[in-house]
């Protein structure tokens, strides 16, 4: 049974067919992680492909003594950042206080908290999770951008309160 280290060493030695082991091993988890954050299937598949290509390109520099998974997840984070940036998302989940980088209460936990929001807030948050910017949402809901912003701010505060109560 080949370990991840053996596989990486073989790929570094030019035996690129071994990359399929890595693809088969990590695709389901990465796909699952990204599909929690992005709902569009095509975008998820594109991102997963880009992640593996980025990893393949970086494999020469990859330290074989380190595990693959954290490295891949770092690429996932970067790809997601680039994806959101390309979609010109004006709101950053990190900008509000309830987002703590260590707890990663991003889209994973968002879905659990959607139930406590009003219908309008829920609708806006779903648009945000799908990658729409404030201006796009304002056109869809037919409300001014500033109103959308304040609805989002109020919803965040609501989520933050509940989050703090539940996590102590």
């Amino acid at each position: 049974m080949l370990t991840d280290k053996d596989i990486i060493l073989k790929i570094k030695n030019g035996e690129i067919d071994y990359f399929s082991f890595i693809v088969k091993k990590f695709t389901p988890s990465i796909y699952g992680l990204i599909s929690k954050k992005i709902s569009k299937k095509e975008d998820v598949e594109d991102l997963v492909q880009n992640i593996f290509i980025s990893f393949y390109k970086a494999i020469e520099r990859f330290d074989t003594n380190k595990p693959i998974k954290p490295y891949l997840y770092r690429i996932v984070q970067n790809e997601l950042k680039m994806f959101y940036r390309s979609r010109k998302i004006t709101f950053s989940l990190n900008e509000e206080a309830f987002i703590n980088e260590n707890t990663l209460l991003v889209n994973d936990d968002y879905k659990n908290y959607l139930n406590i929001l009003s219908n309008q807030q829920k609708k806006i948050f779903i648009y945000i999770m799908e990658g729409y910017g404030y201006e796009e949402i304002s056109k869809k809901i037919k409300k001014p951008v500033n109103t959308i912003k304040s609805i989002v701010r109020r919803a965040r505060i609501k989520i933050k309160d509940i989050y703090e109560q539940t996590r102590g």
Partner: protein, 126 residues
């Protein structure tokens, strides 16, 4: 999921095929270019030395050991002084670059061979 995995592997192979072939072509081109340059610079240097009859200075190598010993240093010094310095330097640099390129190719030979085998196996399977 299998479809996605196949897509990823396909893209990896496409990328690697492009990369490996461009690497090989560039190396081969580079090596042939430097072989050609080395040949040109060396032949010009030899022509100049022939015209100057500088090679006569090395005739003493055919003589006895005692004669060789006597004239070795002085004749070689004269010979080197008569050599066209810039051209000789350029030839040596070309030779050095060529050696490095060949060495790099030999060092990576196993890796390139493995890559080519993998690529061949993949496209044969399709």
């Amino acid at each position: 999921m299998n479809k996605l995995e196949d897509k990823i592997i396909n893209r990896i192979y496409k990328l690697e095929t492009k990369k490996t072939f461009s690497y090989m072509l560039s190396r081969v081109f580079f090596i042939f270019l430097f072989i050609f340059l080395f040949f040109v610079f060396t032949s010009v240097t030899v022509d100049i030395l022939n015209e100057q009859r500088s090679f006569d200075l090395l005739v003493f190598f055919r003589d006895d050991f005692e004669v060789m010993k006597k004239y070795f240093t002085s004749n070689l010094m004269d010979f080197f002084q008569e050599m066209p310095q810039p051209l000789t330097l350029v030839s040596l640099i070309t030779l050095a670059v060529l050696s490095i390129a060949v060495f790099m190719l030999i060092r990576n030979f196993n890796k390139i061979k493995n890559k080519l085998i993998s690529i061949y196996k993949f496209y044969k399977k399709l």
